[in-house]
C-alpha cells in the first residue's frame, strides 16, 4: 500500500518570527477563482467610483491685487511661477510653499505678457504702457519664511505702441513682442531688431516654435494666424479664420503642430505645413477660449475660457478629459501647465492664481510600491472596462456650474438642429448638389501666402 495525504505543518506555512512578513501562497488554478469576470467588473466599477470620489483637483489659490492677465513658468525650475496682473504688478511665486517670493513693480499699465529667459535667471514683461521690462528672477530658496522683496527692473525697452504679448526665445537672447506690429528685440539693443506687419490690426499672441529657432507664429485680432521666419523680412503664411484667435501654442513634442484658442468656443489644432484644414477641433467650452498651454509631454493641453472653466484636452481628442471650476473663479485669462506636467495653473479675473492637479484624483506625494501597483491595476481595469455603459457613465460624469451646463445643452440643441437640417436638405436635393464642409475646414476663410 502506498498512501500519502495532505499534511501541512504550521511552521512551514507561516512566518517564523513576528518581524517577518506573512507568507502568501498563490495557486492560480481557475478552479479556485470562480466569478473572475464578475469580480473584475465589480472592481472596475469600484475603481471608477473611487476615481470620482478622490477627484479633488484644487490645491491652492495665490492672491494678487487685480485680475490676472498672464502667467509664465520658469523653464529651469519647477517651483517658480510668474504672474502679471492688470494693475501692473508682477509676482514671483514659490508654488510648493504657496508664498510670494518677489513683487516686481514698475509697469504703469496692465501687464499683458511675461516670459522667462532660457537660462531661467531673468524674465521679460510687456505692458500696455508701451514698455518692455527685464527683471532678475531669483530661484526659490529651500529654507522657508516669508520673503517679499520689491524687485526693480534691470532693463527697460520702450516701444511705440501698447504691447499685448511677449515670448522669449528658448535659446537666444531675443524676445518677440506683439502689439500693433510684431517686433523682435535683442537684450543688447534698445530698438527692435526686426519688425513685421501684415495688415493693420493688433496682434494678440506670439509664440516661438520650440524646435525651429527662427520660426514663430502669431494670432491677431484680424482673425488671422500668421507664421514668420526671422531670416526673412516678411511673414511666411497667413491663415484667416471666421473668428478671432486669442492665443496660440505649439506642441512641444510635435513642433510642427500648433493649437489656437478661438473666440467661437473651440480650439483648433493645425499642422503648420497644411493650414487649409485643422487636424483636430477641440470643443466643449461654451464661451470664448482665452488661453491655452501645452503640457511638456505634448500629449495634452490646458485651456481656460471666458465661461469660467479650465479644461484639459488630449492633443488629438475632440472633447476635454477634465473640467475644473470653482464657485469663485471668474473669467480665466491665463493658464499654464507646470514643468513636470502634474499641475495646472490658471489665472482669472478674481485676482487669484489657482493651482490644480493635472489628474484630478491623483494621490500626491510618494506612493508606496503597493499603492502604485494598486493604482496601476485600477487604471488597467478602467481601460479594459471603459466601454461598459455603467463604468463609462461614472468615468464621464462631471459636475458643471448651472450656466455652463445650460449653455452646453443649448449649444448641443443648436448643433443637432443644424445637423438635422443639413441632413434634410441633402435628402431632398439632387444628389451631390449640397456640399458639406467638414468642421475642420469650416472655419478657415482664406489661406494667404
Amino acid at each position: 500500500m502506498k498512501v500519502k495525504t495532505i499534511n501541512r505543518s504550521e511552521e512551514e506555512c507561516t512566518r517564523s518570527r513576528a518581524q517577518d512578513v506573512q507568507k502568501v501562497h498563490r495557486n492560480l488554478d481557475p478552479a479556485l477563482h470562480p466569478f473572475e469576470k464578475a469580480k473584475e467588473y465589480t472592481r472596475a466599477l469600484n475603481a471608477a467610483k473611487m476615481d470620482r470620489v478622490f477627484a479633488k483637483p484644487f490645491i491652492a489659490a495665490l492672491t494678487h491685487d487685480d485680475g490676472i492677465t498672464c502667467l509664465a513658468r520658469n523653464p529651469r525650475r519647477l517651483n517658480c511661477l510668474l504672474s502679471g496682473s492688470a494693475d501692473g504688478d508682477i509676482r514671483l511665486w514659490d508654488v510648493p510653499a504657496r508664498r510670494c517670493l518677489r513683487r516686481m513693480t514698475g509697469h504703469t499699465g496692465a501687464v499683458k505678457g511675461v516670459s522667462v529667459t532660457s537660462d531661467g535667471e531673468a524674465a521679460v514683461s510687456c505692458s500696455t504702457d508701451c514698455t518692455v521690462k527685464l527683471w532678475k528672477v531669483p530661484f526659490a530658496p529651500f529654507d522657508g519664511g516669508p520673503i517679499q522683496e520689491e524687485g526693480e527692473a534691470v532693463l527697460e525697452f520702450s516701444g511705440k505702441h501698447a504691447f499685448r504679448c511677449i515670448d522669449h526665445h528658448w535659446e537666444r537672447a531675443q524676445f518677440a513682442t506683439a502689439g500693433a506690429a510684431v517686433e523682435v528685440w535683442d537684450h543688447e539693443r534698445a530698438e527692435p531688431v526686426q519688425t513685421f506687419t501684415w495688415g493693420s490690426d493688433t496682434i494678440t499672441s506670439v509664440r516661438f516654435n520650440p524646435a525651429e529657432p527662427d520660426v514663430f507664429a502669431t494670432a491677431g485680432s484680424d482673425r488671422g494666424i500668421a507664421l514668420y521666419d526671422l531670416r526673412s523680412n516678411t511673414p511666411l503664411r497667413k491663415l484667416v479664420m471666421q473668428t478671432r484667435c486669442n492665443a496660440i501654442a505649439w506642441n512641444p513634442m510635435e513642433a510642427f503642430n500648433f493649437t489656437v484658442a478661438n473666440e467661437d468656443c473651440n480650439l483648433y489644432t493645425y499642422d503648420m505645413r497644411r493650414l487649409a484644414s485643422a487636424s483636430c477641433v477641440h470643443q466643449d467650452f461654451v464661451s470664448a477660449v482665452m488661453d491655452l498651454d501645452y503640457s511638456p509631454t505634448g500629449r495634452e493641453f490646458v485651456a481656460g475660457s471666458y465661461d469660467r472653466t479650465v479644461r484639459i484636452f488630449p492633443f488629438n481628442g475632440g472633447h476635454s478629459r477634465e473640467v475644473y471650476h470653482t464657485k469663485r473663479m471668474q473669467r480665466v485669462f491665463a493658464v499654464r501647465f507646470s514643468g513636470d506636467a502634474s499641475y495646472v495653473f490658471s489665472g482669472s479675473d478674481d485676482m487669484n492664481v489657482r493651482v490644480w492637479k493635472a489628474n484630478a484624483s491623483e494621490q500626491l506625494g510618494t506612493l508606496l510600491p503597493r499603492e502604485r501597483k494598486k493604482q496601476q491595476y485600477n487604471n488597467a481595469l478602467l481601460e479594459r472596462h471603459k466601454h461598459l455603459p455603467e463604468v463609462a457613465r461614472i468615468v464621464r460624469h462631471r459636475h458643471l456650474p448651472a450656466p455652463v451646463y445650460k449653455a452646453a445643452k443649448l449649444r448641443r440643441v443648436q448643433q443637432d438642429s443644424e445637423r438635422r437640417k443639413t441632413q434634410h436638405r441633402i435628402a431632398h436635393s439632387a444628389p451631390g448638389s449640397v456640399k458639406i464642409k467638414a468642421a475642420r475646414k469650416k472655419k478657415v476663410v482664406a489661406e494667404v501666402e
Partner: protein
C-alpha cells in the same frame, strides 16, 4: 536524494503533452481572431492583449508546474491489494502522525443525528445536532470554540463569509450566531427553513424549507433580495453550484430545479429520478452534478449540457453525497460510505474507498476543503475519515488560508465586501458577464430579412392607399364635400331619376333644365309686358 530527483526528472522528460494540458487549464476560451480585422489600431490592440494573455497563461502554467509546494494525496494498491479494501485503521497507521490525527470520532449519541459544515479554508467545522446542539470547532487543533444548546430542533447549519458567524435553521426561524455562540440575529422572515446555503461571493444566505419558499437574504445589508415560491411542496435538498452560484433544489417528484435570484421561475428544471430525490452535489467548476434518488440510482449529470452522463446503482438509496475539490465523489447510505474516484467524467467500475460507520446511521457528509478528509455526521455523533487525494493541496492565501491570522482575516473581510458581487450577476454562464451578447449570424440574417419584409409590406400598403386616394387641391373644401355628397346621392338614384325625367320630357342631362317651350306672345306686345303671358 534520488527519490527527490526521480519524479522531477521524469517531469522534465515528459513530452510536451503535459505542458499543453497544463496550459489548457489556464485558458479562458478561444483566442480572438484578429486576421480579418481591418481597423489597424483595433487589430494592434487586440493582438497586444492576446499576447499579454497568452504570456500570462504560460507563466501560470510554469508556476503550476514548478513552484507549487505540495502534491496531492494518493492511495495506491500494490499487487493483489485493492484500494477499497483498505480500512481507515490501515490508512491512519500508514500516513504521518499529523495527518493520522485528522481522523477522529466524536461520540455524541444524545443529541444526534448531526449535520455539519466546514469553513471555506477547511480549518473550522460546525456541528448541529438535531436536538439543538450547536458547536464550532477548530477541528485540526482539536479545539472547541463555542458550544450552544438551543433547545430546539435544528435542521441545518452553515458558515457565513468567515468562521466568525454561522447560521442555523431551527424549528421556526433561522438564527445567526457569532463565534462565541451568542445569537446575533433572528431572521423572522424565513420560517420553517430546513436547508441553508451561503453564497460567499454574493453574501447571500439562501434558505428553503417546509413552505417551499426559497429566500435570498443579503448578510452584509440584511435585505431580503429575493423570495421565490418553488411550488413544489416542502424541500429539504439544496446545494449551490459553486461555479455560477445557481441553487440546485431537489424535489419530491424527482426533479431538480436551478434558481437565480433574478428570475422567479426556475432557470432549469430537469427530471432526474423516478421517485423523490435524496441528495445532490455539484463540483467546484460547475461541470458535473450528482443526484441520488429514492429509486436507488446515483446519477451523474453534465451541468453545462444538462444531460445525463451515467448512472450507478447503490444497494440501498443513498442518503447523502458530496464532491470533493479534486473530483472525488462520496456517497453514503445507512452505515456505509463509499468514495468514488474518476466517477464523474467516466464510469468507474469499483469504488475508491469504502467505510463503515460504527457510531450510527448517516445523516450528512461533506468533504473538507484543502484537506484529504471527509466529515460525516451521523446519529451517533460526528466522525471524519481520511480520503487521500480528495483536497486541493495548494491553497491560495488570498482565497482561503487555513493559517490566516486575525489581521489577515480582517483584511480579507474588507476585500471580500469590496468585491461583493451583485445578486443580479448570478447567471447560468458566469463567463457571459462583460461580454456582448451576440446573436448567431443566421438569427441576425433572419431578423434582418423579417424587418426588411415588414418594411416592404408597410411601404406597399401605404403606396396602395396613396394610389387609391386622388390628391387634388381644393377637393376637400367643405362646400365641395357637401356637393360631392349630394352628387353621390343623385348618382345612386340616377336610373330612376333618368327614367322619370324621360317620361316628363325633361332632358336626361343632369343639372341642365331643358328650355321650356316659349309661350305664344303676339308680335305687337311690348317686351315689358311679355311676362304676363303665362304658360
Amino acid at each position: 536524494m534520488t527519490d527527490e530527483e526521480g519524479p522531477r526528472a521524469a517531469k522534465r522528460l515528459k513530452s510536451s503533452t503535459g505542458d499543453v494540458a497544463r496550459a489548457a487549464k489556464f485558458k479562458r476560451g478561444p483566442e480572438v481572431a484578429t486576421r480579418r480585422i481591418e481597423d489597424k489600431k483595433l487589430k494592434g490592440k487586440l493582438r497586444h492583449s492576446e499576447r499579454v494573455v497568452s504570456e500570462a497563461q504560460a507563466a501560470a502554467a510554469k508556476v503550476d508546474e514548478w513552484l507549487l509546494p505540495r502534491d496531492a494525496g494518493e492511495l495506491e494498491a500494490e499487487g493483489m491489494e485493492r484500494t477499497w479494501r483498505f480500512s481507515q485503521q490501515d490508512i491512519v497507521g500508514a500516513v504521518e502522525v499529523g495527518a493520522g490525527r485528522k481522523a477522529f470520532d466524536l461520540q455524541l449519541d444524545q443529541l444526534g443525528p448531526y449535520s455539519l459544515d466546514f469553513s471555506r479554508s477547511g480549518r473550522h467545522m460546525l456541528l448541529a445536532g438535531r436536538k439543538g446542539h450547536l458547536a464550532l470547532l477548530d477541528w485540526q487543533r482539536s479545539r472547541l470554540i463555542c458550544e450552544v444548546q438551543v433547545k430546539e430542533t435544528t435542521h441545518d447549519i452553515k458558515f457565513l463569509h468567515n468562521e466568525q458567524f454561522f447560521a442555523a435553521a431551527q424549528r421556526k426561524y433561522v438564527y445567526i450566531y457569532d463565534k462565541r455562540g451568542l445569537e446575533v440575529h433572528c431572521l423572522r422572515d424565513t420560517t420553517e427553513a430546513t436547508c441553508l446555503e451561503f453564497l460567499p461571493h454574493h453574501f447571500l444566505l439562501c434558505s428553503v424549507g417546509a413552505t417551499g419558499m426559497l429566500r435570498y437574504q443579503d448578510t452584509s445589508t440584511g435585505q431580503v433580495v429575493a423570495s421565490h415560491r418553488t411550488r413544489q411542496g416542502p424541500c429539504s435538498i439544496m446545494r449551490q453550484n459553486p461555479w455560477n452560484a445557481a441553487l440546485c433544489l431537489g424535489h419530491g417528484n424527482g426533479t431538480v430545479t436551478m434558481w437565480t435570484p433574478n428570475i422567479t421561475t426556475p432557470v432549469v428544471r430537469m427530471l432526474c429520478h423516478h421517485g423523490p430525490l435524496r441528495s445532490l452535489a455539484a463540483d467546484s467548476q460547475g461541470r458535473h452534478m450528482v443526484t441520488t434518488g429514492a429509486d436507488g440510482q446515483v446519477k451523474v449529470w453534465d451541468l453545462r449540457m444538462l444531460r445525463p452522463l451515467h448512472a450507478y446503482l447503490s444497494p440501498s438509496p443513498a442518503d447523502s453525497c458530496d464532491i470533493s475539490q479534486r473530483g472525488l465523489l462520496a456517497v453514503g447510505y445507512g452505515r456505509r460510505v463509499q468514495v468514488w474516484k474518476d466517477a464523474l467524467s467516466s464510469k468507474a467500475q469499483a469504488p475508491y474507498m469504502t467505510h463503515r460507520l460504527m457510531g450510527g446511521t448517516l445523516r450528512d457528509l461533506h468533504f473538507c476543503p484543502y484537506e484529504d478528509v471527509l466529515g460525516i455526521g451521523h446519529s451517533g455523533g460526528v466522525s471524519t475519515m481520511l480520503v487521500p487525494g480528495a483536497g486541493e493541496p495548494n491553497y491560495d492565501s488570498l482565497v482561503a488560508d487555513p493559517f490566516q491570522t486575525r489581521k489577515q482575516r480582517r483584511e480579507a473581510e474588507v476585500h471580500a465586501l469590496l468585491d461583493k458581487l451583485q445578486p443580479a450577476m448570478i447567471v447560468l454562464d458566469p463567463g457571459a458577464i462583460t461580454t456582448v451578447l451576440r446573436e448567431p449570424r443566421e438569427v441576425q440574417k433572419e431578423k434582418q430579412a423579417e424587418a426588411e419584409a415588414a418594411n416592404q409590406a408597410r411601404l406597399a400598403e401605404q403606396r396602395g392607399k396613396n394610389e387609391g386616394k386622388k390628391r387634388m387641391k381644393g377637393k376637400n373644401k367643405p362646400s365641395r364635400r357637401q356637393s360631392k355628397r349630394q352628387a353621390n346621392i343623385i348618382e345612386e338614384r340616377k336610373p330612376g331619376v333618368k327614367a322619370r325625367m324621360r317620361e316628363q320630357g325633361v332632358s336626361a342631362e343632369f343639372g341642365h333644365k331643358q328650355a321650356r317651350p316659349e309661350a305664344e306672345v303676339p308680335a305687337d306686345v311690348p317686351r315689358a309686358l311679355h311676362r304676363f303671358f303665362k304658360k
